[in-house]
Symmetry: C2
Subunit: 297 residues, 2 copies
């Protein structure tokens, strides 16, 4: 039975997930790099430590929820990393959206060290994290997955062992491909509706229950109607995930040309300093790009 | 009060819609071009006529539900068309997914002839038509819309007057842009999952309730899992609608690059003789195209 959990990565997602673990009676020690965050984390009821070895010292289970593959490498590897610091037999779970190849590498390294490694990225954004309704896509060994279930059940509700190591990451990347197409479709639909002078509220309301209805509309159409570009999900995360997805297909001969185009739109926005905006901000970028082109003439 | 309806275009959608009108007590006369279809239509309880003027002669309301803009022109225009044949004061509704410019042209011609013209394309596919759960996007004058409401309510449930003439078509095209992105995202997600060897049933089940969930998954993931390429919606209809959408934006400077890419995928399939397949058939086309490329080396 898992009781003591070390939590590394207390950003918006991580904080909400750790809070839900606390509610279910787990004891949480969090890794805090920046001293100015200590009070905030303590106020949630999370014990704090300022080094990864300290976080791992007594933990039956260590969870990492950081930015992307590079951050995962940084906290897992090296003499002060999770792999070197976790107790023998501990469960070590990377919940970051990362790369399948890295997940397999960490699983194998962990195995030689006597650790039980799972990859378990999530879907559902900050609201899913807060309400413990995350979808959790897990890769690894069945025995370890079952051992981890009470931990997952404190944070999410659609929890699936997709297959062996890396399969959680592969599932998350495939899901992000679906999300990317959906978001681009939604944003281009709104861009069309704006350009043609449709009443956007009527348009959005017409789509409810139609063949065009989707999670992106439920999550973001309100923000679109309110001219609100603030992030539910920052577009830089989608850029990262779609890049990792295309990277995982390299050499396969499979060309996901629509995903490439979706990525190119969001990459272009990130390059123009808009990486922290919400994914729905693409709606306004069509008119902006068209303006840029017109000025270029 | 509308009682007698003339119905032109008794394909899969039209037949289901006319049947729902019958159930609500409307008297329907259908236009049947091919004599071999007479018995089938009569068996539904629909009166039959073999010319457009005959269908229009006694109708308070004429509905057309044909293939696309070219078919609409064919049945509406000319000396035996709907415009020349409908009774003065009759309501004439084009429910075909067509072009906004054509809808405006027909509205204006109809007005000079004393007709009340609405454009009212639908979303929801054959199941929406059968279950009277269509979304109906209407353009035209409010008075005419209100007059038509009992007719619409027999066939659908989310019924919105989007604005003046052509606005129903614009809304449908914007909705199809959203559908196109969603479908491409779903198909590329499955193509990724297949290529990476994921368990497709687990993948599909993982997406339920996640940020990737959408109407396309609800409508088509079962067919994808069963290797079933048969149409809920034939991809040729999406090709037609996305072409009309891009046409409507011509000269605006707005470049919907993702929609262009979605259209290019489906157009390429249609060019290779797959136009009557369901939109989900794109899932298998990535591997096929990759094979074509490999053979080309």
């Amino acid at each position: 039975m898992i009781h003591k959990i070390g939590f590394i990565g207390l950003g918006i997602m991580g904080k909400a997930m750790a809070s839900n673990l606390l509610k279910k009676g787990f004891e949480i020690t969090g890794f805090v790099r920046r001293p100015e965050k200590l009070d905030e984390i303590k106020a949630l009821g999370i014990k704090t430590a300022t080094s990864i070895p300290d976080v791992c010292a007594k933990a039956d289970c260590v969870i990492t929820m950081v930015g992307g593959p590079d951050d995962v490498k940084e906290v897992w590897q090296g003499s002060n990393g999770v792999l070197a610091s976790a107790k023998k037999g501990a469960l070590v779970i990377d919940m970051t959206s990362s790369s399948p190849a890295l997940a397999i590498e960490l699983y194998e390294k962990g195995k030689t060290l006597g650790l039980r490694v799972l990859d378990a990225p999530v879907s559902g954004g900050d609201s899913g994290a807060k309400n413990a309704t995350l979808s959790i896509f897990c890769g690894g060994d069945r025995e370890d997955f079952e051992h981890a279930l009470p931990v997952f059940e404190a944070m999410g509700r659609n929890i699936v062992l997709e297959g062996g190591p890396g399969r959680g990451q592969d599932t998350k990347l495939a899901a992000q491909i679906v999300v990317g197409g959906q978001l681009a479709g939604m944003c281009e639909g709104f861009a069309y509706a704006k350009e043609r002078g449709l009443n956007l509220e009527k348009f959005a309301s017409s789509l409810k229950g139609s063949a065009a209805d989707c999670a992106s509309l439920k999550l973001y159409s309100e923000r679109v109607l309110n001219n609100d570009r603030s992030p539910g999900g920052a577009l830089s995360y989608l850029v990262k995930d779609l890049k990792n997805a295309l990277l995982a297909l390299e050499g396969s001969g499979i060309d996901l040309n629509v995903t490439r185009e979706v990525l190119s739109n969001y990459q272009s926005m990130q390059d123009r300093g808009m990486g922290s905006l919400g994914t729905q901000a693409l709606v306004w970028d069509y008119a902006q790009r068209s303006g840029i082109k017109k000025q270029g003439h």
